[in-house]
Symmetry: C2
Subunit: 161 residues, 2 copies
């Protein structure tokens, strides 16, 4: 099904809608840029690598299946394979084979990985706070969480469909 019926004039974005969309895109790019730089300089980690450590750290045994981790990160499987290999070389993450499924692979946080995360987290969180969280009011944060949560949920749905 085409996103727009051919022949009919599409509904363009009005001023407010455009402002929201541009704001989202711009803020996203600027934030990523900043966080990337800060993490790389202070901890030698890319934002992607940091996020891998975060998700593993939050998981039951500090380990997650590759596919599950890729979904949480919203990245491609091949991209994750690459980054896990990098983290493995740094000694921050290890691979374990899954007992119940020969094909399965667990990415597992090492002690060094936990330590690296413990060391990187404060600076990262402080910057997220400074650039985003503390700039917004409580109400704005609530709306953002609710709205973007809904957006994400819907995106995840027909992504699997």
């Amino acid at each position: 099904m085409p996103s727009t019926p051919p022949g009919s004039e599409p509904r363009w974005l009005d001023h407010d809608e455009m402002a929201a969309w541009r704001g989202f895109v711009t803020a996203s790019n600027l934030l990523n840029r900043r966080l990337e730089r800060q993490l790389k300089e202070d901890s030698g980690l890319s934002h992607t690598q940091y996020e891998i450590l975060v998700h593993l750290s939050a998981a039951p045994a500090g380990s997650l299946r590759m596919t599950e981790l890729a979904e949480k990160l919203v990245t491609s499987k091949s991209g994750l394979t690459y980054q896990v290999t990098q983290l493995e070389r740094m000694g921050l993450v290890g691979r374990r084979s899954c007992p119940s499924d020969v094909r399965g692979v667990f990415a597992e946080l090492t002690d060094e990985g936990r330590e690296a995360l413990r060391q990187a987290a404060p600076g990262h969180v402080a910057l997220v706070r400074e650039l985003l969280i503390d700039v917004l009011t409580r109400e704005q944060l609530a709306v953002l969480a609710a709205g973007l949560g809904e957006v994400s949920a819907r995106l995840r749905l027909d992504d699997g469909a």
Copy 2:
């Protein structure tokens, strides 16, 4: 100045703050993924290339200085050089030297570029609408625009500083 005074416990994100931050990151990644796929399939353009066309189209003479364009796009200068070259090969953008500054280069939208944008825009806008704009209420959009606008503005400030 260190982001966090060494020795003091950093202010972690509480539940709501974390929800807002995760929602932002996740929605951003999922959206980019989708838009990238749609644009590439329907128009053979990457999201970056599409945005270049949009910004040029909105500019006075359909042309902008490389540096200015890079800032609007929130990308590196070298990255822009690469993409403009790609668009030039496709015939959608041309380069013109600046009269008042020998070093300067204008990226200029060609007629084909305008046509390509005219053709790509409806599908892109429709998807942005479906995935983000139409998911949110008028109030949520207003809050998002105001909040992320402020965030972007601040980020742009000490980026130049």
